[in-house]
């Protein structure tokens, strides 16, 4: 059963952290000890053309054409975009609209997988990383279709080209995975520690950074130990264990905890000499770049009390969620599924949504848990200040909430509305059950619209 209490670790108080934040029950026990496994191919894959931030990819193949596992099937459209690769050998049937987890149907390439195909990657070209220039490496990263696998899905090569004048002195590798339940990064750090270190080295080379810090939380000591065994001897890469606290995995919180730097409001980490990459992204980079391959699969944690066989699975991009859930013995509807973690993840609109590069996990809660957490009684704000004490950005959610309720959206700028990154701490702690984060999402939208409408 899912636990409701936060695990108490007395040593935690001596570890680095950021100020404020919350301690939701971790519930990592469902999957944290399960090594990564492969799932078989489904009969059809739905590869969305837009599964990254930026412009959708442009198809390179036509319906009826055969593709080989690992072959590029769509090219990047401009700099802020990423190409796609065939996740399995088969034939492109059509380009069709398929549901996405957020609801709207988007264009995807439908690939019929040849039955009995092996999962061996048939496409790719070995590269000598040492001999490559910075520009060649950045191009290679773009060609691999790599995007931020932590969820934001921002094309990685863009982050590798910081603005003019920004000098990166430290690469931060984010292995905090602070969302309850999820264990993708935790397992990757154990099962693919060598790839992680390899990826980190490549990132340092491209950015010209003299050091890198891999940060993880103290509920993942085993992961930290696994990485320490394969660290290079020169000491340029270190592992630091920080306090388990949500949202430690937000890059702003990580920068604060690891190197005590605050990323100024509205600016990139590079403005304070930092570049932050997620563990899954770095592992993939270390694994793919030397082989010249593209992103065709990813590790997905399927977890929660509502699923019979929780675990960490390698899933080809484009696999329909329905196929995975059926394999794991889940008979229910999409209603109780969340893509991502419980704090920032979205509910899934349909079981027909395909896996994209950005989805690191699916959480299946029991119907009862959903009722408990969403239908809680609403009270008026009692000004208890819990949200003020929880907000990792040190905003005043109570005040923002009151302004939102009065529809004073422009007024909210004074209280730094746009510094809110929607981590959900305020909604989590609010004893009155006020959906503060949802208020702020709406407020940001309204605020932008009002500004656009004003002359």
């Amino acid at each position: 059963m899912s636990s409701t209490a936060h695990t108490f670790r007395p040593l935690s108080i001596f570890r680095k952290s950021f100020s404020q934040g919350i301690h939701p029950a971790e519930n990592k026990h469902y999957t944290e000890h399960k090594p990564i496994e492969r799932l078989p191919f489904p009969s059809e894959l739905y590869v969305l053309l837009s599964q990254h931030a930026g412009k959708p990819a442009v198809p390179l193949v036509k319906p009826g054409q055969e593709v080989v596992r690992g072959e590029p099937i769509a090219r990047a459209d401009g700099f802020v975009s990423a190409p796609l690769h065939a996740p399995a050998t088969g034939v492109v049937k059509r380009i069709d609209l398929v549901p996405t987890s957020k609801g709207p149907r988007k264009e995807a390439m439908v690939i019929q997988v040849y039955p009995g195909e092996t999962q061996e990657v048939l496409y790719g070209q070995d590269r000598d990383i040492e001999a490559m220039s910075k520009q060649e490496l950045i191009q290679a990263v773009q060609d691999s279709g790599l995007v931020g696998l932590g969820g934001a899905a921002f094309p990685t090569h863009v982050k590798l080209s910081p603005p003019e004048g920004h000098v990166i002195d430290t690469v931060l590798i984010n292995g905090c995975e602070c969302e309850p339940y999820l264990t993708t990064d935790q397992r990757l750090m154990i099962d693919q520690a060598a790839d992680l270190v390899e990826g980190t080295k490549i990132l340092m080379k491209i950015l010209g950074a003299p050091r890198a810090i891999i940060g993880t939380e103290d509920n993942k000591i085993e992961s930290a130990e696994a990485i320490r065994k394969v660290l290079p001897a020169d000491g340029t890469i270190t592992v630091q264990v920080v306090r388990t606290k949500y949202p430690q995995g937000a890059e702003k919180m990580l920068a604060k905890a690891l190197v005590n730097r605050e990323i100024p409001s509205g600016q990139y980490p590079s403005s304070v000499g930092l570049a932050v990459f997620n563990v899954a992204t770095t592992v993939e980079l270390g694994q793919l770049l030397p082989k010249g391959q593209g992103v065709i699969e990813r590790v997905v944690t399927i977890t929660g009390p509502g699923v019979d066989k929780p675990g960490n699975y390698i899933v080809p991009i484009g696999t329909p969620l329905r196929f995975i859930m059926k394999k794991l013995g889940y008979e229910g509807s999409a209603k109780h599924l969340i893509t991502g973690g419980p704090m920032m993840g979205d509910t899934v609109s349909s079981l027909d949504v395909p896996i994209t590069k950005g989805c690191g996990g699916f959480l299946v809660l029991t119907p009862q848990q959903f009722e408990e957490n969403t239908l809680s009684e609403r009270f008026p704000c009692i000004s208890c200040g819990s949200c003020v004490d929880a907000c990792p950005m040190h905003l005043n959610p109570a005040q923002l909430g009151k302004l939102a309720a009065k529809r004073m959206y422009l007024e909210m700028d004074k209280y730094h509305l746009f510094d809110c990154f929607e981590c959900g701490c305020c909604s989590y702690v609010c004893p009155a059950g006020i959906p503060l984060v949802q208020y702020f999402r709406v407020s940001k939208k309204m605020n932008r619209e009002m500004k656009a409408a004003a002359p």
Binding site: T4, S265, T347, N373, S376, P380, I382, S386, N396, G424
Partner: protein, 357 residues
């Protein structure tokens, strides 16, 4: 089929987890924390205290419930906050107060102090203190009539004035007191003794509460322990209590050093009167205290100073009620000027940064 499926899509927004500490859970725990204090009050003052607590709580709950029925909205009694108000009203009234006056106080607390402002979450002042301030003026004499604690017959008979017929003035207690009161009973609380005659009270009595005073304010240590329970469960802002107590202690110690014969020592300041009850259960009322972290300290220090100033230099022996009400009035302003410093806020030193670069 697809139409039906589309219609049944339910999208819920993150976070999908909620802390189990909801308003009603917090309020219910505050009630639990008040129960030992009620029990002590009954043991200390007997039947009259019991009746006072029952009447005040009953009237408070009834007032809110009837109001909700009248305006045809679901009753808000279930959030437990009105129960706290009812109990607190009883605890800050003198045990000999006629029950009808207690009922009026309780009614005023809820009606004027809470519902009038819009109910839970909207009240500017602590409702119980609003009621007490009203009665202080409306029923001046009964509100300052004190009876001894630990009377032998307290569990079998009421203090005679308790049962005064509604809307009549209570009779004199002189005759009854001369029979039951211990020798040397002056009819004064420790604070009054200190104020008028500079007579101290034994520290053990102040701390453990077997003395005259308001129904539930006397047992300083017990109140502190009950507050500790709430603080440990993170259902009370300990910073408010801490800052009030430390400020009051330090500030009064300063005067005590200057003139020990005129001004009491800090132990007396903390143990006597309603400072402990006020600092633990009244000033910490979430609604009427500031919500920012710095604001909470400012508020606590302000109240701590006001308590000492009123007690030592004001016309009244006790100043906790007015100090907290003033703090309540100031708290929106305090919140406003103590907004937290945002992470990554672009500092004024932007020029310096440019020069450096």
């Amino acid at each position: 089929m697809s139409q039906a499926a589309a219609a049944s899509i339910e999208l819920r927004t993150s976070p999908h987890l909620r802390s189990p500490k909801t308003v009603d859970v917090i309020m219910r725990n505050v009630v639990y924390a008040l129960l030992p204090i009620c029990a002590f009050a009954v043991w200390n003052f007997g039947l009259s205290a019991l009746a006072l607590i029952v009447v005040c709580t009953g009237v408070a709950v009834l007032t809110e419930h009837v109001y909700c029925v009248l305006v045809k909205k679901p009753t808000t009694v279930g959030d437990w906050s009105v129960v706290i108000t009812g109990i607190l009203v009883a605890l800050i009234l003198p045990p000999a107060l006629p029950l009808w006056m207690a009922a009026v106080t309780s009614f005023i607390s809820v009606a004027l102090g809470k519902i009038f402002f819009g109910g839970l979450g909207y009240n500017v002042f602590n409702p119980a203190l609003v009621g007490r301030a009203f009665s202080q003026v409306a029923f001046t004499l009964p509100m300052t009539t004190w009876t001894p604690a630990q009377l032998p017959g307290r569990f079998v008979e009421f203090i005679p004035t308790s049962l005064t017929i509604p809307f009549l003035e209570p009779g004199s207690l002189q005759g009854w007191l001369s029979n039951v009161a211990p020798d040397g009973w002056t009819g004064a609380t420790p604070l009054q003794l200190m104020k008028s005659e500079q007579i101290g009270t034994e520290a053990s009595q102040l701390l453990f509460g077997t003395i005259a005073g308001s129904t539930g304010e006397t047992a300083a240590v017990l109140i502190l322990v009950c507050g500790l329970y709430l603080a440990v469960r993170k259902m009370m802002n300990w910073r408010i209590t801490f800052s009030i107590l430390v400020t009051a202690a330090l500030f009064s110690w300063l005067f005590h050093l200057i003139n020990p014969s005129q001004y009491p020592d800090p132990i007396f300041m903390l143990g006597a009167g309603s400072l402990m009850l006020g600092a633990v259960f009244m000033a910490t009322d979430m609604v009427s205290s500031p919500e920012t972290r710095l604001g909470v300290w400012v508020y606590g220090i302000f109240i701590g100073i006001m308590v000492v100033v009123i007690r030592l230099f004001g016309g009244l022996p006790e100043g906790v009620m007015y100090a907290i009400l003033l703090g309540n009035a100031a708290s929106p302003l305090i919140s406003r000027v103590t907004q937290p410093k945002t992470y990554g806020a672009v500092r004024k030193s932007r020029k310096q940064a440019k020069e450096g670069a």
